[in-house]
Subunit: 285 residues, 2 copies
């Protein structure tokens, strides 16, 4: 992974990722469970926000969780140890040069990673090679263009647009969620099925308002304040007005919506040796 | 209902509404079912696109379906008769002057109606009066600001914006879906619970691509072409480019998302006569 990680590697950012995972576990992961004995590669585990949910939900699967950042890996490892899980092995590795043999995993899990890569299809193809035929890949990504809130605010949209622009400049794509289907099909996966997972937060769901609108999404946008101003993308006052308006959506009459996309695809089965349907058709016509 | 109905009353529009209902039935209505013998008011039934689903899913409830348009009502009545349902009574009436006694219904159902009203909270309050204490209201509305697609296209967003602007000029609000929670709370309903219902269409879901992206959403936007151009909102070429780009999302690698919001609320129970908790607290302190 040669791209700059737009969110940074600070302690506060780690907290944000943990908050995000805690609030979203049901919505994103309740239908992910791996069978006893299966070998699962988690590509880009970061600080382990998702790893802990994977390990808990599939206690008899064996996980190999990789990340390019040694600091994040250390954090993830500590977290998994503290929780008492022994079914996760961590390795430092770049997604574009992975130290694994072809077909050495039954399943691959990728969450909030493709958004940071300039070549997402190539990454998916590398991961496909590591899967056994018939193995599955699960990909989860957000999409900042799906953001929808009340009261609506052009200033808030402008602040969000700063994050999208910075991520684009770093080689990533904060609008990648909606593209999962074509990207996974292009990478060669079969039976691709994408489902949207919308976070919906109003005053009747205070955990979502606090955990997602405030501590996850708005905190993430706030996190690019200095870079956005330094890059000349926005004036300080305009950015701050946007953040104020995002916080405004957490009041009693506010509403905030954001959509994640989850895609599952299968590595095609190997063709039966010696069987060439196209050739046979030619012969018999 | 004194506002202009932005979608018009043409035969082709009726077809669109039927297509929309057919494709969306599961997503929007699978959790709406009324008990035997309950009295349900459907406020704004239009051409009966939803009425038929209500009647089918709750065959032992009694529906009273009203609409301001005699033409739409005739169409709805014919449709229900053809389908053989006898549990629906139709009446022509304006939602702001309904010919019913207070507390004469157990449930109220309102679908794609508030978006056309300049005073949605007042309409909800009128409907609340018709409910018995403890009765429920179900409200379903779309939100054009939730539209999200691939390939993304400023031209397509500009064409959609024409529909939003025309609806606003007619006194309505095409972005009302996200506001259901605060509107229903403001109208006085208790225990309001809103859930988003996203239509997600990619090539793996050809019925959604055809039934929703093409025949419902894009057809609806195409339907305002002449009015938008006549109103000077957009140049002919720009509008047509937007429509082309909406159709582009129906190709093999395209994706289209749109979110409806469904809210359910309860009319508060009557306070127990003679019981004044606030007063008692004062006395005993």
């Amino acid at each position: 992974m040669t791209e700059t990680y737009v969110h940074g590697y600070h302690a506060r950012e780690n907290e944000r990722l943990q908050d995000q995972a805690g609030t979203l576990v049901e919505l994103l992961h309740s239908d992910t469970e791996y069978p006893r004995g299966s070998r699962v590669l988690e590509a880009g585990c970061g600080v382990g926000a998702q790893t802990i949910t994977l390990a808990r939900r599939s206690p008899h699967a064996h996980f190999t969780s990789i990340d390019v950042s040694a600091g994040s890996l250390a954090e993830a490892e500590q977290r998994i140890e503290r929780a008492g899980f022994t079914n996760v092995e961590f390795r430092q590795a770049d997604i574009f040069s992975l130290p694994f043999e072809a077909e050495s995993f039954d399943h691959v899990f990728v969450c909030f990673v493709l958004e940071h890569l300039a070549r997402p299809v190539q990454a998916l193809q590398i991961l496909e090679r590591l899967l056994r035929p018939g193995g599955t890949i699960t990909v989860i990504e957000g999409d900042h263009g799906s953001t929808c809130f009340h009261p609506d605010s052009p200033a808030a949209h402008a602040a969000i647009e700063c994050q999208v622009a910075l991520q684009r400049e770093a080689g990533g794509n904060a609008l990648i969620g909606r593209q999962l289907y074509p990207l996974m099909v292009e990478a060669g996966f079969d039976a691709v099925r994408v489902s949207p997972r919308m976070v919906y937060a109003d005053a009747s769901r205070p955990h979502m308002v606090d955990g997602f609108t405030r501590k996850t999404f708005t905190a993430m946008i706030e996190g690019v304040r200095e870079s956005a101003i330094a890059a000349g993308l926005i004036a300080r006052d305009s950015f701050d007005a946007g953040i104020r308006d995002l916080h405004r959506t957490t009041q009693r009459d506010g509403v905030f919506c954001y959509t994640f996309f989850k895609g599952i695809g299968k590595k095609p089965q190997r063709p039966i040796p010696g069987f060439h349907p196209g050739y046979e058709t030619c012969v018999h016509l």
